[in-house]
Symmetry: C2
Subunit: 329 residues, 2 copies
């Protein structure tokens, strides 16, 4: 149980005051070059590393970023979380992970998060609160919604341009000869779901078409599988389905092939959204809209670091249509 090396130890070895060491470590205030060198040397020799807890106590700000996640079963989550923590790690920031309970309002969670004096909060859940942004603003903590946005609250938000993605999906289906189409969405009350649906509808309208049906449910494989069964029963001539995300799409494809005996894409085309790893598995080879994950993360970090520089609240980044084998040529 060895004692930690403190700034006092470094100061003693360098023959300076502890305050001088602090100034060097915090890169704050002026220190003569030779003194700074002596201090750095002493710190290195002693293996000194600053105590983040003590620093946070006094400054009221840590280098920890809170990430609030919710629907963890969705395969997009681990991909996004992993890329995010990796990016944060490269900036020497840690990630405090909060798991919102199903149905839990973010508003109830944020005050608890704020107690940790986090440097910022990134919210990846679908269920939103209305006052969370306000709490964070009061505390001076940057608050960024990732992957979706809120109509009100004035929070920063970074997301894929789902509307454009939905439109592209519609155009691709129209261009490949589909006419009787449906949208199988995820959580009704979420911005990606709304935008994907609206974009899809808008894209069909360009061709003078309209979806025969528009379903909402959850961003899950099981929902996709369930939804398509009823859908195909009501519309036996259905020739295309645009899905809220890849998980739903996989469920739809599987149900079409294994529950309903339809050929994908020959009889029914299917398009997903996200481009999760499974989308490219040989069993699916899903045509989908890839989220611009790298760009979304970069934008999120910029917002976290310099929220004041950025007047624009909503940042929608264009996705990329990935054409594989669940749509016709």
């Amino acid at each position: 149980m060895q004692k930690r090396v403190t700034q006092r130890d470094v100061a003693a070895r360098a023959g300076v005051s502890q305050a001088a060491v602090s100034r060097v470590m915090a890169e704050h205030g002026y220190v003569a070059e030779d003194v700074r060198a002596r201090i750095m040397e002493a710190a290195a020799a002693l293996g000194y590393r600053p105590d983040p807890v003590a620093r946070t106590l006094i400054t009221g700000r840590s280098n920890i970023v809170a990430v609030v996640v919710g629907n963890v079963v969705n395969p997009f989550f681990p991909v996004a979380l992993s890329a995010l923590t990796e990016a944060l790690r490269q900036e020497d920031r840690e990630v405090l992970l909060f798991n919102a309970a199903p149905g839990q309002n973010i508003d109830d969670l944020i005050p608890g998060v704020l107690r940790y004096k986090v440097a910022g909060i990134i919210v990846m859940t679908v269920a939103l609160g209305s006052r969370a942004a306000e709490f964070c603003a009061d505390a001076g903590v940057p608050y960024v919604l990732f992957h979706r946005y809120a109509e009100q609250g004035g929070a920063f938000a970074v997301a894929c341009d789902s509307g454009a993605g939905g439109r592209e999906a519609a155009r691709h289906l129209v261009a490949t000869g589909c006419r009787t189409m449906a949208y199988v969405g995820g959580l009704e009350d979420s911005s990606p779901n709304r935008d994907r649906a609206n974009g899809f509808i808008a894209g069909l309208r360009e061709a003078g078409l309209a979806p025969v049906e528009h379903l909402n449910g959850a961003f899950t494989y099981d929902w996709g599988r369930e939804a398509i069964n009823g859908l195909l029963y009501r519309h036996p001539d259905l020739d295309a389905v645009f899905c809220g995300d890849d998980a739903i799409a996989c469920g739809v494809v599987d149900a079409l092939r294994y529950d309903l005996g339809r050929k994908v894409p020959d009889e029914v085309s299917v398009i997903g959204f996200d481009d999760v790893p499974q989308a490219n598995w040989a069993a699916y080879r899903l045509t989908t809209v890839r989220q611009p994950l790298e760009a979304m993360i970069a934008q999120t970090l910029t917002l976290l670091k310099h929220p004041e520089d950025e007047a624009r609240r909503l940042h929608l980044l264009p996705g990329e249509m990935i054409i594989r084998a669940t749509t016709r040529r």
Copy 2:
């Protein structure tokens, strides 16, 4: 930007000293019942919530548990992480998430983690360090390996009994008439991989059989897909493959069906390990060995909370064979 409520404020309102408030909040030391009631009332009225940073600074221990993850692409990770954070949340403990860079030694990571005065460290990466357990022991921080264990270092470890699982898989394949079998493993130098391989080999030996080949690679879909191609070329009469995990197994199944035109399970049986959500998707319906996730997490939390009560270092929990449609009846 409203001021936080501090113990001093509570003390003033309750007409007691700040120390009395601390004793009530920390549940440490004696306080008269009526005084305690007054304090609780004042705290509630003011909306007081303790400052975890200040508390950590003085006690040298936070209520934060560090979770170190690595191979995030593997679908078992989000399932495990999600269940773990959920369990931790129920104990009012937070999760500090560390993403080990690919190939990074845990030993280099742990000292940085320890600076946060975490209440415990749970390691879910496959790459191990040799001194991490020692560092943690020196700092008095419980250290638990999750999902795999180390031969040396004396760290606590909680994992599925992969050896028993491998043996069961072998028995099931033998019982369903397979004779020419191979093991397609993941990361060679990891305990789950070794145990699954050894268990499988032992299980075959019971029937007087031996695997025709034994490959190691990575716990990924792509590796499974690649491995089976060469394997089937060298052993055209192969009739079963036991895989290091479900991701590999999905790759093997897909390659057999779509790259090699074989029928699963009629021509080749495939068994995975973990029972991730995808294993039950209709495109796979994978026979697999389910990890006892709930039990593993419960055991991990117990070890974290009372490490001194537990003499046994290694806790192997039995998995459950889930028979689906990638093995014959």
